[in-house]
């Protein structure tokens, strides 16, 4: 158990296959006021292992926020989202979908599956970073204790933030 090792910093999970995109997002998060720990996984299956603290991610903390790409190898983003929102222990983690798609259908599906929001990946790097910073501001601010729990693992899902 690493719970005290994580101190009060929050964890953000980025589920993103594209290396450049995930690096942009984690850099932007690193510059945000809270500078959360950022974890990156590359596909939907790995995302589940992380969220359930299994396999190579057995020590994974519970993230306060998930940034989720829709187009992922193995299990796609929609299925990850649907499974999270159907899982009582994971449902409370807000999920922001970040995708290159701006199709009406994708947007509508994602909100029906109860994503917190949908942000379109901008080709403009600065704009993309701005979007990630705004997400961090709204979903990670200290006073806005997010996702139900902070430093605990998902085995202690209800540990209140102090």
């Amino acid at each position: 158990m690493h719970s005290h090792g994580y101190s009060a910093r929050l964890h953000v999970l980025i589920v993103e296959n594209d290396e450049l995109d995930s690096r942009l997002a984690s850099d932007a998060l690193g510059r945000s006021a809270l500078a959360p720990y950022v974890h990156v996984v590359r596909d939907g299956e790995e995302a589940f292992r992380f969220l359930r603290a299994e396999g190579e991610h057995s020590n994974a903390p519970r993230p306060a926020l998930v940034l989720l790409d829709l187009n992922l190898p193995r299990i796609d983003g929609r299925s990850v989202l649907a499974a999270m929102k159907n899982d009582e222990s994971l449902r409370a983690i807000p999920v922001i979908v970040i995708s290159t798609s701006s199709s009406d259908r994708d947007v509508a599906d994602v909100y029906r599956l109860q994503a917190s929001s949908y942000v379109c990946k901008s080709l403009d790097v600065e704009e993309f970073e701005q979007a990630v910073l705004q997400v961090a501001d709204l979903w990670l601010s200290p006073a806005r204790a997010v996702g139900g729990a902070t430093p605990a693992t998902n085995k202690l899902p209800k540990a209140p933030a102090s």
Partner: protein, 520 residues
């Protein structure tokens, strides 16, 4: 890959704010709503108020379906959680993101809200500036960064009949809404019914004051104003709108009485279906229209007879005045006399012009119809008015049709109508204003639409503007015949002339449509 277009960019973001504190609501509104009209904010001060708005929107009974809901957790009559839960259990509402805003900073409460599928949980800053800043952040994110689901296709398309349903029973209202929704289109001509629901007569009158409805469906057994009373009030206060009465059962006496009081139709709830409602509404609207046309043409005929009689009587003395003043001008006279005589002559000419117009209006002078290309008509009209419009300091914008069509018209008189409409519009718009002439062709009809961005036509005079001699201009500025003559010309072409104000969403101004049948 192209840069994604943010869906929200083209229209206002509709936000429903559920907040009981007036101070907090004002601060939130200050951050959410700037004067660019990009956020359309609706405030509910209690949970039940919010539920009412949402229930109605969810049933398709209003246009109020929000894009984003911001809820205070602690409300006077319950918890914001109830609103959240209600939304997430309703198939038509559950896709709408809900941001919870609360002073409660407790991880368990936060967790429970996220478990209930809140989009975000924000702790309310205690200082007012902090609250405004937070609202600005929300605005910026949801307007500029987030993509939201597209809304259903625009409800207010041409051919939609706006129907006001006055019904105090939730379930009955819902039943009617579902029946009507199941109707694809009416009679295959593409017309649709769009219902707006009013729970009480008071609410109905507020709605009737705000916008135009094609028909009213009235439940006879409304809580406070029972039975015929509500129908009588409605007929008195909104005499122009056809009414279809709903009643619990088919009571012959109630039915007879309703029709006597001016209802257009009577439906029993026992025996209700979407198509029955639609049929009754359509018939009511059409009957109303034809009654109005008959009344109008009777009135026109009598005015016509009167006018041509008077015109002939006046024509003779008038020509004497004209000729004699011209004779007198031939002799050498003092400057003062010349000025006076010229004025007499000019006024006689002016009066003669009015008489000629009156006669042509009363007689319905003969038309020389020939096929004319729409593009050419628009161009020649532009040539005719460009100078005068420019003198008024008004911009004239003519939208040429993408595909040219042919109209069978008397070109000169239709030009006269368009010139008349454009000049009216330009005068209403005033210096710095804009008048637009555009066209739309649909199902064998061609609409030539003149809109301006002036103050619009006051509701009180809207019914009179086509009457001969009706004018809003100062004495001597206009004859009050322009629109009446224009209407006559439109009718001689088998067409219509329709005047209305532009929908509030497009800003102020009048829109007059010359509708003509077109030939292939």
């Amino acid at each position: 890959m192209t840069l994604p277009a943010l869906r929200i960019a083209n229209r206002a973001l509709k936000v429903l704010l559920v907040e009981d504190s007036a101070t907090d609501a004002a601060n939130l509104a200050a951050g959410l709503v700037l004067d660019d009209n990009r956020v359309d904010l609706r405030l509910a001060t209690t949970a039940s108020h919010a539920l009412r708005i949402l229930r109605r929107a969810g049933w398709g009974l209003s246009d109020d379906l929000p894009d984003l809901v911001v809820i205070d957790l602690v409300l006077p009559d319950g918890s914001g959680r109830e609103v959240l839960d209600f939304m997430k259990q309703d198939a038509r509402l559950r896709h709408i993101p809900v941001t919870v805003l609360s002073v409660v900073d407790d991880a368990h409460v936060v967790r429970r809200c996220y478990d209930g599928f809140a989009s975000a949980y924000l702790v309310k800053p205690v200082d007012p500036d902090g609250l405004v800043a937070l609202a600005e952040q929300l605005r910026s994110f949801w307007l500029n960064r987030a993509l939201l689901p597209a809304r259903d296709s625009a409800p207010d398309v041409l051919g939609t009949l706006q129907v006001l349903l006055i019904e105090d029973n939730d379930l009955d209202a819902r039943l009617v809404a579902e029946m009507v929704r199941d109707l694809d289109a009416l009679r295959g001509d593409g017309r649709r019914l769009r219902l707006t629901w009013a729970e009480s007569m008071d609410e109905a009158f507020r709605l009737l004051g705000d916008r135009t409805f094609d028909a009213v469906v009235l439940d006879l057994h409304l809580g406070r104003s029972v039975g015929m009373e509500s129908l009588e009030i409605l007929r008195r206060r909104a005499p122009g709108v056809p009414v279809v009465v709903l009643s619990g059962t088919l009571e012959p006496e109630a039915s007879r009485r309703s029709l006597q009081l001016g209802a257009q139709d009577f439906l029993a709830k026992d025996d209700l279906s979407g198509s029955a409602i639609a049929r009754a509404v359509l018939h009511a609207v059409e009957r109303r229209q034809s009654e109005r046309l008959v009344r109008l043409s009777e009135r026109m005929a009598s005015i016509g007879r009167l006018v041509s009689g008077v015109a002939h009587e006046i024509n003779n003395p008038l020509s004497s005045i004209l000729h004699l003043s011209e004779d007198l001008l031939l002799d050498s006279r003092s400057a003062e006399d010349v000025e006076a005589l010229e004025l007499i002559r000019d006024q006689a000419i002016r009066s003669g012009t009015i008489i000629r117009r009156l006669l042509s209006f009363a007689r319905g002078s003969d038309l020389q119809r020939a096929p004319v290309a729409l593009g050419r008509l628009l161009m020649s009209t532009e040539r005719l008015v460009a100078n005068q419009v420019e003198l008024l300091g008004v911009k004239l914008s003519i939208e040429f049709p993408p595909v040219d069509i042919s109209l069978s018209i008397d070109e000169t008189s239709i030009e006269q109508v368009l010139v008349n409409l454009i000049l009216n519009g330009a005068q209403a718009a005033g210096a710095g204003g804009t008048v637009t002439l555009s066209s739309a062709t649909d199902r064998g009809q061609c609409d030539l639409v003149v809109s301006d961005n002036g103050p619009g036509i006051a509701d009180s005079i809207l019914p009179s503007i086509f009457d001969p001699f009706f004018t809003t201009k100062a004495v001597g500025q206009g004859t009050g015949l322009g629109l009446a003559v224009s209407l006559g010309i439109a009718q001689q072409h088998g067409g219509e002339l329709l005047a209305m104000n532009r929908p509030a969403s497009e800003g102020t101004g009048a829109r007059v449509t010359l509708r003509l049948p077109c030939i292939a």
